[in-house]
Amino acid sequence: MSTTIISVSVQIAQLMLVLAMAIVLIRIILGPRAQDRIIGLDTLYVNAMLLLVTFGISSGRMIYFEAALVVSMLGFVSTLALAKFLMRGEVIE
């Protein structure tokens, strides 16, 4: 019973997260300007991190938590670097 509940809900959640990633990807491709694409990248890595956590729930292993922690930290730094690049690239011009 509980196995069915967990596995079905994990599959639905993974489907929703993958759908969200696909929608964000559409916005990254459409995105009229660079800042839209950077926000899309930020949302994309957060969704990927949540997908890793749902993998951890479905497999019962804690190793996925560490991967999610690393993804969240590296994603923050990369988004910050891209935002600073937007500012400085325009200043130099």
Binding site: A13, M16, A20, I57, L69, E90
Partner: protein, 136 residues
């Protein structure tokens, strides 16, 4: 995999499922809003659904699952939640400032002038002073 999940009582499984579906559906709603809102300054609000309760729901589900299945208190998912909660306003604020700066330098006419928020950001004031000096 199956042994771990089979030991879980039904109430814990229902709780995990509820929080998981809450978090994942908020992520989906945030993504749809990010696609559909018309301007950048409106679009920047939608992904915060993902980074606030999307993360919160999935992390609470993971905490309940591992706490009940291992019998110990597993709270280290709070680390991710805390980290993302602290860092998201920083990145989005920086991105919004960068976008505002780009829109103002290109003079698209979609954002108000620099005088509208004079005094809130000393950096923009010095940049404005520099550009006026250059113009002179």
């Amino acid at each position: 995999m199956n042994q771990v999940v089979a030991e879980l009582p039904v109430w814990a499984a229902v709780l995990v499922a509820c929080f998981l579906l809450l978090g994942a559906s908020l992520c989906l709603i945030g993504a749809v809003g990010f696609l559909r809102l018309p301007t950048f300054y409106e679009r920047i609000h939608a992904p915060t659904l993902t980074t606030s309760w999307g993360i919160g729901g999935v992390m609470i589900a993971s905490m309940i699952f591992f706490s009940v299945s291992t019998g110990k208190d597993v709270v280290h998912e709070i680390l991710i939640g805390l980290f993302v909660t602290i860092t998201t306003p920083v990145t989005f604020m920086l991105l919004a400032r960068a976008a505002l700066y780009r829109d103002r330098t290109e003079q698209t006419g979609t954002v108000p002038d620099k005088g509208a928020d004079r005094g809130t950001d000393p950096r923009s004031r010095t940049q404005e002073r520099d550009t006026t000096i250059d113009a002179q």
